[in-house]
Symmetry: C2
Subunit: 316 residues, 2 copies
């Protein structure tokens, strides 16, 4: 049985992206150059990048039994992401974002319909924990349910040798007060720039130093800050900072943070030390910004192998 | 075997409609009140209304084997429209219109992706003509192919008694020069206000009088002109005009012309004289303008029965 799978939990969304010459005038009737669909949501994007990086990955969440279902199933399959434990929910609508891209101005206008798809509950968390090396949570308004799932994982870990335990991570991205209860429930805590700024922190170092007191013993806070790079701080240890790695021309930053998280999880899963993992994650996120979507990452040399002793590592 | 079916041919489109509080600011990220999908395209809308009016109706066209297919199949089934002869085309994209509705201004902004779905060809026109009482064509850029289909129907009719013949109609809506070749190939020719204006006619009467010379012997030109009502002129006979019938409050005029055409076809199929058919069609189109979409027409008293002698009729 596979025991090294990475499980990502979050909320699924479909992005319907219209590539327009320019942003439309109100009440006009115009043609766009192209429309395309993209599976979205933070944990979904992270799953996609993990799969591209070569990790065995599963997504767990609710999926609406709506017109988008066929597209989503195909897309998960194309991406090589397992969805066997997902809950298909009847009589609800999928969250959808209409995204209007303007070639002229470079703007990205989003019209979001949050749909009526319910969040995954603790009752839905019916998985064989023995299959997973890592479980990652996109912090959701249903954080109280996610806390119960994290408790299940802690209970599962309690009887195991350190090497056999599941590592956990949570992402605090949107400024929702309800997410605060997740901060001391996982081994790695990803803090977004937006979340940090909403809490009064204006640099990545201030952010990790400000939040590290709230995480549990042995846990690490990680914060990526766009073109200012990223840093991480294990509780009681010094902060490690690394610079961003620019792709040259910025093409599309949508999902860059989710890409960073995927690359961090992948490298840490492979046994990388924090500094190597951060450097690798900044490299992958930088590459992503230089391309539309994620699939081009397949053709970039981004393999990551931990060095043999497992205590140090490097990207090659 | 059923012999009284109405067949409608055209191009299929999906409308993704976002009901917004206001038209979005460029580069903003906002929520909308609701998104909904609607099957669109002129002949599709006409089919929908024919089915609601109680006519046995079939749609014939190409359908993309794309993410929208599941929705479309369900929607045709819900609408009671037969699609058994449609051609499902792989590796192409469905025409999609994103429609942004603003509650504040009442505006309707359309961003259309024409997709890569091919038009139906004469080779695809593999139907048992014995099943149909009426065949209606939405004039398409592929008009030359539609001319061949109309010729097949004329050949089929040539050996039949008058009562057993298929009646044909064409709709000239968009100002495309290629549509002109259809005008003398059908029994009824629907001219849109836009098409008429593009040809220099500024009233419904001017339009039917201007176009009637171009139709074939025994054929009739019909023209609806929004709040100015509708008129019809059989070749060599006087023009008949009827006023519009207002629903009181105008809610949604999208597809009002397609509704008018459906009601005309339905009434004429039932043996109505032209004046009764026009009056009935203006009534149904007016009702449609007073509601969102078409489905509310189900709950309106719009039944139409021809009088017994078949030479005159009335809406009741």
């Amino acid at each position: 049985m596979e025991t090294n799978r990475i499980l990502c939990l979050g909320k699924l969304c479909v992005d319907i992206i219209a590539e327009c010459e320019d942003f439309p005038q109100e009440d006009s009737d115009q043609r766009c150059k192209r429309q395309r669909w993209q599976r979205g949501g933070n944990a979904n994007n992270t799953s996609t990048v993990l799969s591209i990086l070569g990790a065995p990955v599963e997504y767990l969440g609710t999926i609406a039994n709506s017109h988008e279902l066929g597209f989503l199933r195909d897309d998960y399959q194309r991406a090589g992401i397992i969805i066997d434990n997902c809950v298909i929910v009847d009589n609800c609508s999928c969250p959808v974002s209409l995204v209007l891209l303007s070639s002229v101005s470079g703007s990205r206008t989003i019209i979001h319909d949050s749909g009526s798809l319910p969040e995954l509950t603790h009752k839905d968390f019916q998985v064989d924990l023995g299959s997973y090396a890592w479980v990652h949570f996109e912090g959701r308004p249903s954080a109280a349910e996610q806390v119960k799932m994290l408790r299940d994982i802690d209970n599962h870990n309690a009887d195991l040798e350190e090497n056999d335990r599941i590592t956990t991570s949570v992402e605090l991205e949107k400024n929702r007060p309800v997410l605060a209860q997740l901060i001391d429930k996982a081994d790695y805590v990803f803090i977004s720039k937006d979340y940090a700024k909403a809490h009064g922190f204006y640099s990545k170092e201030d952010a990790v130093e400000g939040f590290v007191d709230k995480v549990r013993e042995g846990a690490t806070v990680i914060c990526a800050w766009g073109e200012d790079g990223a840093c991480a701080k294990p509780k009681g240890e010094p902060t490690i900072s690394v610079p961003a790695i620019s792709p040259g021309t910025i093409i599309d930053t949508l999902g860059a943070g989710d890409t960073f998280n995927a690359a961090m999880i992948h490298a840490l899963c492979k046994g990388a030390v924090l500094q190597s993992a951060l450097t690798f994650a900044c490299k992958v996120a930088g590459e992503k910004c230089g391309m539309k979507g994620f699939s081009g990452l397949r053709y970039t040399d981004l393999s990551f192998e931990a060095e043999s002793d497992g205590s140090s590592s490097g990207s090659k």
